[in-house]
Symmetry: C2
Subunit: 520 residues, 2 copies
C-alpha cells in the first residue's frame, strides 16, 4: 500500500525555471531546494502551452491542448472534458482549490444541458471540478468568488477595490500610482507583505489543511504570482534591486528578416515594445525576481506546517508552474512562444512513500509534461483514471526507481494566437493561427500554420539563438520532426466517450449481440 493519503499540488503563475537557484539560477530559492532534497527535481519538464489557460486545462485534464480544446485564455473548458476533480469525485474524493485556475465555464453548454450555473453541479463544472476554499485568478480585482477583497478591507485597506488601490498600487511622493505601469515596479506595493496575494493564499491553504486534521485531502494551491502586475510588497520589491540580474539574452536574428514572421509580429505587442528596452527589462526583472523569492518564502511556510503536522509523511507534493516568461530576453516580454524560457518549467515532486526513498534528492533528466500530473496524482491515490482520455503518464514508477529511462522521447506544446495582436499584424483569420512544437533530446521543431517552421539544434545551440527553420541544410531534420508531430497528432485521444476496457471487451463481439455478418 502507498503511504500517500493527501496531495498538495502547488502551482506558481509565470514562474521561470532558469531563474531559480534550485535550477542554477540567480534567485535564492532555499525552500524549493529543500523540497527537491526530499523528492525528485525534474529537469526537462514542459507545459503543453505557454499561456495560462490552455496550459492549466492540460494540467487539470491530463490532455493536450488540441484534445481539451481550450486553446487560449478565456476559451471555455468543454463540458465533455473530465478533470482531476471529476476523477477524484468518482472515487469519493474531492479536489480542493485555493487560488487560480483560469477555468471558464461553457455556459452555452450549461444552457443546452439545463445545468444551473449556481447549482452544486454547475459550481463543480464551472470550477473545472474543483471545490474552492477561495478561487482567485489574480489579474483583475477579486470577484465574488474570492474573499480577498473583504480580507483586505478587514485589515484596513479601505476601498471599494483594494486590489487596484493597494495590492497593485504604490506611492510616489504621497501620490498613489498603479503597478500596471511597469515604471513603478521598483516601488513597494501599498499592501503589507503579510496581506499580499501570496501570503493570503498560503494562509487560506494552511488554515484549511489544519482543519482537515487526519482526514485525507487533495489541495491545489495555485499562486497568482510572480505573474504581472509586477509589483512586490516590501522587502521583496528591493531584494534584487541593484543586484546582478544576469545577462539579457539576445539573438543575432532578433527583429531581422531572418527571424520567424510570428516572432516578428509578437515584437509589436505592448510588452515586447517595452521589454525590448534593456533598462525596462532590468527594472522589471528585479521585481519579478523579488516576487519569486517571496513565493519561495511562503513555500517554506507550507513545508514547515506540513512538517509540524506530520503531513510530509503522507502527502504527495507536486510543485510546478503554468509557464515561464521572457523577462526581456530576446527583446520580448510575457510568454506564449516555444523557447525554453516559456515552455520548460520547474517541476519537483516529493513522494513520501518509502519506495521513493532511493530517488530522494536526485535529478531526473527525462522528459515530463504537464499532462503527467493528473495520472500521477490518481496513481498515488489509487484512483482509476481513464486511459481513453488521459494522455499523460504517471511519474510514480520514475519516482520509485521502477523504470530505467522510462521517460517519454519527446514533449509537445501548442499555441493558438488567434486572439492576439500578432494575428492582426500578420493579417490572418482567427482560426488560422495555430502552432505545434515537438522537442526531442536534440531538437526543437515548431510547425506554424501558414509560415515556415522554426528549428533549433539544442546540442549545438542550447540557448535557441539560431533558428534553422529555413536552413536548406536541415531539411532532413525538419521532415523527420514534422513526421513525428504528425504521428503525435494522429494518435491524440479522440474516442473520449467509450473506455478502452469496454472497447476491448466489445471487440469482434457483434455475433454475441445477434448481428451475424457475412455468415454463409
Amino acid at each position: 500500500m502507498s503511504a500517500i493519503r493527501n496531495v498538495l499540488f502547488i502551482m506558481c503563475d509565470q514562474l521561470r525555471r532558469d531563474f531559480l537557484s534550485c535550477y542554477g539560477g540567480r534567485v535564492h530559492t532555499p525552500n524549493l531546494e529543500r523540497l527537491a532534497r526530499r523528492g525528485v527535481r525534474f529537469d526537462h519538464a514542459y507545459v503543453q502551452s505557454g499561456v495560462c489557460g490552455p496550459s492549466r486545462m492540460s494540467y487539470y485534464t491530463g490532455r493536450y491542448v488540441s484534445s481539451h480544446g481550450a486553446t487560449w485564455n478565456n476559451v471555455p473548458l468543454s463540458i465533455a472534458e473530465h478533470t482531476l476533480g471529476d476523477y477524484l469525485r468518482a472515487a469519493g474524493r474531492t479536489a480542493t482549490l485555493a487560488g487560480k485556475t483560469h477555468v471558464v465555464p461553457d455556459t452555452e453548454a450549461f444552457a443546452r444541458c439545463g445545468i444551473e450555473v449556481e447549482s452544486e453541479r454547475g459550481a463543480l463544472l464551472r470550477e473545472g471540478g474543483f471545490v474552492s476554499i477561495d478561487r482567485y485568478d489574480g489579474h483583475l480585482p477579486p470577484g465574488i468568488e474570492s474573499a480577498y477583497a473583504d480580507f483586505l478591507r478587514a485589515h484596513g485597506y479601505a476601498s471599494a477595490d483594494p486590489w487596484s488601490d493597494y495590492v497593485i498600487a504604490a506611492e510616489v511622493d504621497g501620490r498613489v500610482v498603479s503597478g500596471w505601469q511597469m515604471r513603478h515596479a521598483h516601488l513597494p506595493s501599498r499592501v503589507r507583505e503579510e496581506h499580499s496575494e501570496t501570503a493570503y493564499l498560503t494562509d487560506r491553504a494552511l488554515d484549511w489543511i489544519r482543519a482537515q486534521g487526519e482526514a485525507p485531502w487533495v489541495l491545489h494551491l495555485s499562486y497568482v504570482k510572480p505573474h504581472w502586475p509586477y509589483l512586490a510588497p516590501a522587502p521583496y520589491h528591493a531584494l534584487y534591486r541593484g543586484a546582478d540580474l544576469g545577462p539579457i539574452v539576445r539573438s543575432a536574428q532578433d527583429g531581422t528578416a531572418a527571424e520567424h514572421p510570428v516572432m516578428r509580429a509578437y515584437r509589436q505587442h505592448d510588452e515586447a515594445l517595452a521589454f525590448a528596452r534593456e533598462e525596462v527589462a532590468r527594472h522589471v526583472r528585479a521585481t519579478y525576481m523579488g516576487l519569486i523569492a517571496q513565493a519561495d518564502h511562503h513555500l517554506g511556510r507550507v513545508l514547515d506546517a506540513l512538517d509540524a503536522q506530520g503531513r510530509m509523511d503522507d502527502t504527495l507534493v507536486v510543485f510546478t508552474s503554468d509557464h515561464g516568461e521572457f523577462s526581456g530576453d530576446r527583446g520580448l516580454g510575457e510568454k506564449e512562444l516555444f523557447h525554453d524560457e516559456i515552455v520548460r518549467v520547474p517541476f519537483i515532486v516529493c513522494d513520501p512513500d518509502p519506495r521513493a526513498d532511493a530517488t530522494r534528492g536526485s535529478t531526473d533528466a527525462g522528459f515530463v509534461e504537464a499532462v503527467d500530473v493528473v495520472p500521477t496524482i490518481l496513481a498515488a491515490l489509487g484512483v482509476p483514471g481513464a486511459t481513453h482520455r488521459i494522455e499523460g503518464t504517471s511519474l510514480l514508477p520514475r519516482l520509485r526507481g521502477e523504470t530505467a529511462g522510462g521517460a517519454r522521447g519527446a514533449v509537445y506544446a501548442e499555441l493558438d494566437y488567434g486572439l492576439r495582436r500578432a494575428r492582426r499584424v500578420l493579417q490572418r483569420g482567427v482560426a488560422e493561427c495555430r502552432a505545434f512544437m515537438v522537442r526531442t533530446a536534440e531538437w526543437k521543431y515548431v510547425h506554424w500554420e501558414g509560415f515556415r517552421p522554426q528549428l533549433f539544434d539544442l546540442v549545438a545551440d542550447p540557448g535557441e539563438l539560431c533558428d534553422l527553420g529555413a536552413d536548406p541544410r536541415r531539411s532532413a531534420e525538419r521532415t523527420r520532426l514534422a513526421g513525428q508531430l504528425f504521428d503525435w497528432l494522429a494518435t491524440r485521444k479522440r474516442r473520449t466517450t467509450l473506455s478502452d476496457a469496454i472497447a476491448d471487451a466489445r471487440t469482434d463481439t457483434h455475433r454475441q449481440r445477434g448481428i451475424h455478418i457475412g455468415i454463409w
Copy 2:
C-alpha cells in the same frame, strides 16, 4: 430570398455508388436519374468514414471523425457535439427523423450533467438532435423507439419478433430460415414488399410530410437498406438473379505479401472469408442489387408525392449514402476500408431555387464531403451555423453556379478498427488502430498507425488495384501527401466553445477589460 422552405435529406445505408445506373452501373435507378435531372449529380462525393456510425456523425455534425470523436459504431456521440438538429432548433426549426441514425447517447455525460434520458432534453440529446417520427436502425429487431414491430403484427405477422421471423426470414420447403445466413439470399423475404422496411419508412415519411401541409419542415428519411441482412421481398429478390452482375474485381496483390497488412487482417473477418468465394459474392450481389432497385422504387414514390403536393418547388432534396460496400470485390465483404467502393458515395442535390436552374441535370465533378451536408442545409434555410465547429462547406454556391471550381482540393476519411477482429489479428492495442486517408484528384494516400501507408495512382490506376505504398519510386508523393494530411490534422476545429466572431471581436482587447500588460 431563397425558395427553399423545406429540406428532405434522404440517406440509404451501404449503398454503393458505382452499382447505380445514374452513376453508370448495372442497377436500373430511374428515380435517382429523375432526381439528378432536376438537380446536380456530384461525382466525387466522399464520406468521412466507411463505417455507419462515424460516417453518420459526420453527416449530422458537419465535422470530421477526429473532431466529433465517435470513431466507430456504438461509440457515443459526445454531449459537446452540436448537430443539425441543434442548429435548427436554435433558429426555431426542427430536424425530424424517419429511420436510422446510429446515434448512441453519451449516458455517462448525461448522468454527470444531471440530464434525464427520458426528458425532452434527454430525448433530443440521445437522438442526435432529431425529433423522431420513427427511429429505426435496422440491424436488430426493432426496439421500443420504432413502431415497426407493432405495424408488422397489425398486418398479420404474428410474432414476438416479426423482424427476425418475417422480415429477415425466408422459407425453404415450408421451413423458416434466417436471412442472416447468406445462402438464403436468393429467397424472397417472408414479408410482403409493401410491409418491408423500405416501404414502411417511406410510408411514415410521406404520411408525415402530408400532415405538415404548408408548414415548413426538415426531414431526414434514413433507409436501413440495402444494408444487410441480404434478403429482399418479392419481386426484388429475383430481379437480378441470373442477370449480368458485372465482374468481381480482383487485384494481383490480394492476399499476397505485397498487400497491406491491415487489408490482409480484414481478410480474416467472417464476411471476407465468405465473400472471397466468387459464388457467394454473386449470390449475395444479386440480392443487394435487388434491394437497391427497391430503394429506387420508393424514392420514386417520394418524388411523386412531393410533385403532387408542389413540394419539389420549395424543398431542398439531398440524396446520399453513409458508405458503400465491397460486395465481393477484392475478395472482401462489408466496408470500412478506403477504396472508392466504400468511401465514394452517390450524392445528388436538387435545389428548387430558380438560381439553381442553370445547373439542373448537370454533373459536378468536384469533391464533396459528408461534412458539407449540414452547412448546405443551414445555408438553404438561412440558419446560422457555427464556423468554429462546422468543418464542411455549403454547396449552394456550386448548385447555383456562383463559383467556378470552388470545390475542395482533396477529401479526407478516417478509420478506427480498434473494435474489429483485424486488431486481434494484428495484435494491436485498442487505441492503436487508426487510419487517415487523403484523396486528391490524382492520388489516394492512407496513413495507417504502425504500418506502412497505402498509395494509389488514380490516374494510371483508377481501380486502385496496385498499392504503391511500399514502392521506393513513390517516396516523394508519399512525403508530400503525408504533409497534406498533417496540415489537415493540424487545422481541425478544436476551439469549439468560443465562436470565431467572439474570438475575432476579443482579439487584442485585454486593455479594454482592465488588463494593462507591458505598459511602461
